[in-house]
């Protein structure tokens, strides 16, 4: 086994699904360019041809709609939105069309496809080059939403999403692109067999989240260890439909929960984690009130000090966790 970075793992996932399914297409802006989506799709156009790896005009809505149409006729498109902020322009096709066709047409058809939205923030890029909008999309029945945290999941959830009979929104985060780990060879993955997973074990508190928030939680756990506090880190992996089993198991053990999320608090994923933990536990299983770390309720700034204040860090996560533990010990 060799060490593979998250962004290269995504490319390996594309290689696997396009190799194993000749009906699989990739379509989106910048796919013939080396700089749009990092290294995550480098060379795929040369390997699979420009008929299957399609670079498009600046038309997020039509591109996504074209993918829905191709999916309804036996193809397996993966639409790439190099920056999630721009994917908002395709939201009708994602929310009103892809997610609803099976249900509203009586279960007779499904646009089984993958929509890949990339979270690309930091670096003073500002309010429209920064957003993590998974909480919005995870609200929608009919759409599956997955957020890989690790390189292996970056590859395997892409494979699972592509092999799913339902439309799947796959969200990767460029802050994870250089995270490396050793990976077993790629294989088929059934998305419905994937649920939340425990990434680290401890006793004092559960840190839960998805995608980059898991990385923050793991780094925070290292810091907490130096304070003599050990924690569970639960990687949710799938946001919709949400399977809270691993989260509830962990909370029953630790009695404390800090939900971490890279989107806003109001009606957001962190709140959903707390609610689903509360709904599946008894009051006497809790040792402290659950809490959450999210973004401030403001658009992303550009200025360096404001940006530093805006994003949660391993330190701020560790501080919040320590606060919960200390107050309830």
């Amino acid at each position: 086994m060799s060490s593979v970075a998250y962004c290269d793992a995504i490319r390996q996932g594309f290689g696997f699904v396009m190799e194993s399914d000749p009906k699989c297409l990739a379509i989106g802006q910048g796919l013939w360019s080396p700089w749009y989506v990092g290294r995550s799709m480098d060379g795929l156009d040369r390997r699979f041809g420009k008929e299957r790896v399609i670079d498009t005009p600046v038309s997020e809505g039509a591109t996504t709609g074209i993918a829905v149409g191709a999916a309804l006729h036996g193809y397996k498109p993966i639409v790439i939105h190099p920056r999630m902020d721009f994917m908002i322009l395709a939201t009708d096709q994602i929310v009103n069309q892809a997610a609803k066709w099976r249900h509203m047409l009586g279960g007779h058809c499904s646009p089984a496809m993958v929509i890949r939205g990339i979270v690309n923030r930091g670096g003073e890029q500002g309010a429209q080059h920064s957003q993590a909008l998974h909480s919005w999309y995870a609200h929608i029945p009919g759409l599956r939403v997955v957020m890989p945290a690790t390189p292996t999941d970056a590859r395997d959830l892409l494979i699972a999403a592509t092999q799913s009979p339902d439309p799947v929104l796959y969200i990767d985060d460029r802050w994870l692109y250089e995270w490396e780990e050793e990976m077993a060879p790629a294989a088929d993955v059934d998305l419905e067999s994937v649920g939340g997973v425990l990434r680290r074990e401890g006793d004092a508190i559960t840190l839960a989240g998805a995608s980059y928030s898991v990385k923050l939680a793991l780094d925070a756990a290292e810091i907490l260890q130096t304070h003599g506090v050990t924690c569970d880190v639960v990687d949710m992996r799938i946001l919709n439909p949400l399977d809270p089993a691993a989260l509830r198991r962990s909370v029953r053990k630790t009695g404390r929960l800090l939900a971490i999320d890279g989107s806003w608090s109001n009606c957001g994923f962190a709140g959903e984690l707390i609610a689903s933990a509360v709904e599946g536990t008894r009051p006497d299983e809790w040792r402290a009130m659950p809490s959450r770390v999210t973004l401030p309720h403001a658009p992303a700034p550009t200025s360096k000090p404001l940006e530093a204040a805006y994003y949660p860090t391993a330190d701020s996560v560790a501080a919040a966790a320590l606060d919960i533990v200390k107050k309830s010990t």
Binding site: E51, T56, P57, S59, G61, A62, T63, T64, G65, I66, A67, V68, G69, A70, A71, L72, H73, G74, Y75, P77, D92, Q93, N96, Q97, W101, R102, H103, M104, L105, G106, G107, H108, C109, S110, A112, P141, G142, R144, S164, P165, D166, E192, P241, L242, D243, P244, A245
Partner: protein, 354 residues
Amino acid sequence: MHSTTSDMRLGPLADPQLFNEPLDLGNGATDALLGYYRSMLKIRLAEEVVADLYVAGEVRCPCHLGIGQEAVAVGVSSALRPTDRVYGGHRSHSHYLAVGGNPAAMIAEIFGKGTGASAGMGGSMHLYAPEVGFHGSVPIVGATIPIAAGAALAAKMDGRGDVAVAYFGDGACEEGILHETLNMASVMRLPVLFVAENNLYSSHLDIKLRQPLDSVARFARANGVEAELVDGNDVVEVARAAERLVRASREGRGPGFIEAVTFRWRGHVGPNEDIDVGVRRSPDELAAWKGRDPIGRLRSALINAKRVAPDSFTLIEEEIRTELRDAVEAARAAPYPPEAALLDMVYANGGQTS
């Protein structure tokens, strides 16, 4: 065919006092012409049945009737085969029926019954009959335009010469998605026929209050898509344009666009004629358009040419009325979808259970 004037207006085609004479049948075969007649009459009578059910309070789901516009779908469908991929919008009864969608399944769908075209989960605005090439309709204005283009991409990759059709109205031409899709279909040379039913009104609002020029074919030409402007109440003319543009698409020459000028006799939604305060439709305008009746003009032409005996029309009408009567009876008697369908159809393997 009609050419738009240099400033891209409809000109005489938008004047209901014109083009109301019997159709010019050319050398069209009588069987084919009678087939158009039967298909248009079936659509007309089916929609009248739906309107009556609505008035009677038996049907509550919003129904957007296209009475008066039957020639567009029937003309276009004459160029299609079952492996083609047709997509519609909120006013798509005609598009569904014209390719051979089952009227009984449509009426059951409008009743919300489990025997409906979409198993009672969609209603009037979500029709589905893939076995005859009708792959879905939705009411988000313009939403199926790129989906049809995607169906065309699939057809192109399949390489069997199938085409896709996107039906939409003049209102959808005000949505950005049409322009994005025209551009992409053109640059990707997709085998898709865009069919704009320009009935001069979007909901309540006259096209003159919505667009600076009233011919929407200008958007196709701006994107390098070949367009034909036709009298949408002349089934022969629509069929001829569709046949030419569909052939071009099948042969790999990319997309085509038909602008069919027509008029709906009922309001935007529901059975009424909507000649009300705030609605810019005058009784005189409506009466004039009824004089440009696509069915009456074909019928007169067939009688004038002594191609068909008048009692043949009576027979056709009786057959259709019987079929529709049976369809309504069957829909009334059919069961509603089971409550489990609420969750069962969300995902391929059911809904959320946690």
